[in-house]
Each structure stands twice: as C-alpha cells, then as structure tokens.
C-alpha cells in the first residue's frame, strides 16, 4: 500500500496529465462526429479482430456439437432422399409376343439386408406383396440364382438364399442332361455341393451347372456354379461334387424376383396326374 502511495505521489504529475488527457480525448470523441466515426470504426476493427481470433480458437471446442447437428441434419436430408422411400408400384417388365408366350416375369428389387455368415442366411428385398411378390417366387441376381422368397410383408420380402441348410435347387449339368440338387453345406459362402449325380456320368473340373427348370420357380438354364472337385465315394452310386457358386452372395445389390406365370397351371397339372395315379 505504501509502495502504491509512493508510486502515485512520485508520478502524480503524469497521472494528473493522463487523467486530463483522457477527459480531453473523451470530449473529443464525444463531440466530434468525424473523430467519433473514425474511432468507432477502428475500435470495431480491433474488437472484430479480437472476436475473430477468439472465435477461431473456440470453434474447435464446439466441433462436437456442430458435428452432432450436422449428423442430425444429414439424417433428416437422407430421409428426404428418394432411395429411402419405397416405390409402391414397381416396374414389371412383360413382353407380349404371339409366338413366345411369356412364362417368366421379372421385377427388379434391391437388397436392403444381407447375410452370408450364418448357417441359414436370408436376404431382405425392398418390395413386397404390394408389388405382386408372393411366397415361393424365385430370386435371381445378375449372375444366377439367389434364392426363393420365403415370406412377404406389404413392402418387404424375405428371401431364403442358396446359403441355407434347407435350400435345395434343382440343377443340371450344362453340357449334359443329368440333373441333381444343389445344396449348401454351411461352411464357405462361395462353395456348395451338387448331389444326386450318378457315377457313370463323365464329369470334368470347371463344368458349369445350370438350373434345370423342373421346379417351376426358375427359368431353365440359369448359371449356378462350376465344379471344383469330384469324388467317388464308395458305398453309393452318386458323386460327391464340390462346386463354386457363380454369384457372389456377399455382393448383392440389384436382384430380380421371378414370377412364373404358368406355375399354377404346371403344379395343378402335376397334382391331378399324381392324384389320378393314386386313384388307380
């Protein structure tokens, strides 16, 4: 305190001068429009620079909140995007021809959920009963068979894929007419088995397996797999064939649901024939 008083008394002249000078400059700025505007402008410039640099520093602290806001906004905008909406009535491509009667109709759908690692794998499609998809229809990808529609809801359908313990696709050799069944042993999503091919058939590694068309679900001749291993187990009459799927089930995006227009007719006919057999 004494030091302070001593300092004040020693510098009294200077402090008094400063006081009066501050008053004078205050009067100057208060009463002179030109100096006032200059002063305000320059002080705005100074304060603006200060605020700017403070803002430069503090904006990093707010990044979390800003990110959150932006993410929320993104989610909102994404909800507005067309591909998050469901197209109720899709495109079904039908060609009317007088010589070739249309047997299969294809409607394109998109895979919105997929799995390959489970023992029983399903995929979900973005179209359902509103688009005319029914249980039991086939689903094919760009490179061949994907699976069979298991259940449908109004807007979605669940597809039992080839990668399922119960899946059994009727298949045949492309070069010959021997047919068997394609199954999945639940190990690797790229490899499966072909069963029920008799041992006397001549097989070669790399032979292609195609759909047989017997099941009335898929058209005939769709590529399914290639042969990667052939064994002749002792004790039965059939080959043990390892196959590699042509479809990459991990990379499914655009698939087609196949509607067999004549399926009912075929099944009905087969049924009546069998009933007739049993009646006899």
């Amino acid at each position: 305190m004494r030091n302070l008083l001593g300092f004040l008394s020693r510098n009294l002249f200077f402090i008094f001068f400063l006081l009066l000078e501050v008053i004078a400059i205050f009067l100057l700025i208060q009463n002179n429009r030109y100096q006032q505007s200059r002063f305000l402008n320059s002080s705005n410039f100074v304060s603006g620079r200060v605020y700017q640099s403070v803002n430069n520093a503090t904006k990093y602290l707010n990044l979390d909140i800003i990110n959150e806001d932006l993410a929320t906004e993104n989610a909102k905008l994404k909800a507005e995007l067309a591909n998050s909406k469901i197209q109720i009535f899709g495109n079904n491509y039908i060609i009317n021809d007088t010589i070739y009667h249309q047997q299969f109709e294809y409607s394109e759908t998109r895979v919105i959920n997929n799995s390959v690692t489970k023992a029983n794998n399903y995929i979900t499609l973005d179209k359902g009963s509103f688009n005319g998809i029914k249980e039991g229809m086939g689903v094919i990808g760009p490179k061949g068979v994907v699976g069979i529609v298991k259940t449908v809801s109004p807007h979605f359908s669940s597809v039992l894929t080839v990668l399922h313990s119960q899946s059994k696709i009727s298949a045949k050799l492309k070069s010959q007419n021997y047919y068997g069944s394609m199954i999945w042993d639940g190990k690797d999503y790229q490899y499966g088995k072909l069963i029920n091919i008799p041992k006397h058939v001549k097989l070669f590694l790399g032979d292609t397996i195609v759909s047989s068309g017997f099941s009335a679900i898929f058209p005939k001749g769709l590529d399914l797999a290639t042969i990667t291993g052939i064994e002749k187990p002792s004790g039965n009459n059939f080959y043990d064939i390892d196959i590699k799927f042509i479809n990459d089930f991990k990379n499914l995006e655009q698939v087609y649901v196949v509607k067999n227009v004549l399926k009912e007719e075929q099944l009905l006919l087969e049924q009546t024939t069998q009933e007739g057999d049993s009646d006899d």
């Binding site: 009294l12 002249f13 200077f14 008094f16 001068f17 009066l20 000078e21 008053i23 004078a24 400059i25 205050f26 009067l27 100057l28 700025i29 208060q30 009463n31 002179n32 030109y34 100096q35 200059r38 002063f39």
Partner: protein
C-alpha cells in the same frame, strides 16, 4: 504575485480572443494554421506548479475548443505540451538553473535557448493537434507538412510577440 496573476489572466483572455477571432480565420493555402495561443503555456513562470500548469492548459484548451467547436482537440494537444514543458526545461536548463519568479523570455536567456524551447514545444503541440484533427496516419506526410509549416508560422509569431515585450520591458 497578484499583478502576475492579473497579467496572465489578461494574457489568457487576449490570446483566446486573438486566436478565435483572428488567427482561426487565417488559412494560408490550406496548409498553414498558426496556433499562437500556446504562447500562454510557454510564458508561465518557472515556479508554476505542475498541477497548475496542467489545469491552466486544460482551461485554455477547452476555451479554444468551445469557440472553434473542436471539442477536446486543442485541449489534448495543449495538455501534452504542458506535460512536456517541465521535462524540456530540465533538459535545456542553464548551468545555474532558473530563478523561481522568472518567465521564459528572450531577454533573460540567449536566443538559442529560447528558440529550442519554443520550437520543441510548439512542434509537439502542432504535431498532436494536426494528427488528432486528421485522426489517421494514412496521409502521414501531408499532415506532417501541415505540422511543419504551421509550426514555423506560430514560432515566427511568437518571436515577433517577444520583440514587443522586449521593447516594453526595456522602456521600464
């Protein structure tokens, strides 16, 4: 002492009126504006207390400002000049110091001393005044030219005034 106070009061009023009524109307070629009223601060006796110096400077500055409607401009410049005066006096003090009752004048000191004393303080005052008037440094040399030319004219007027007092005091 009383006589001195009276003298300086009269000088105060005279200088304000001279400055406001006459000299403020002189603007030679847009550059030169003599501010002769600073003579009052220059002529105050050596013994004048520092605080009184400042108060007088403030009063004189305010008076000039009120008349020329440049509130605070002359006051701040004149305050700086009054603040510098003791330091300048100390810097250029003669070997035997100042007599307490004396005022700075040509006849008591040599011409060189008085010239330095007046030039430095007048230049300081004009420098502050003109730059406060411009209130920016962007036209620095234009303003500086005004400062130098006006300082020269003010100093010239102060010397001329000193000749008058010299004569009157010599008669006494």
């Amino acid at each position: 002492m009383i006589k001195q106070i009276l003298n300086f009061t009269l000088l105060f009023v005279f200088l304000v009126l001279l400055q406001v009524l006459v000299l403020n109307n002189i603007q030679l070629s847009g550059y030169i504006n003599p501010y002769f009223y600073v003579l009052f601060i220059l002529l105050l006796p050596f013994e004048t207390a520092n605080w009184l110096l400042l108060i007088l400077a403030f009063a004189l500055g305010i008076s000039i400002d009120v008349f020329s409607s440049t509130m605070g401009m002359h006051t701040s410049a004149l305050l700086l000049m009054a603040f510098l005066r003791p330091s300048i006096l100390k810097l250029i003090s003669p070997r035997d110091g100042y007599d307490s009752n004396q005022s700075p004048s040509i006849q008591d000191f040599d011409f060189r001393w008085f010239a330095i004393y007046v030039s430095v303080l007048v230049f300081a005052h004009h420098f502050v005044l003109f730059f406060i008037e411009a209130f920016r440094f962007s036209d620095f040399f234009y303003t500086l030219t005004k400062v130098i030319l006006s300082s020269l004219l003010t100093i010239l007027l102060i010397f001329i005034s000193q000749l008058f007092t010299y004569n009157s005091q010599a008669k006494r």
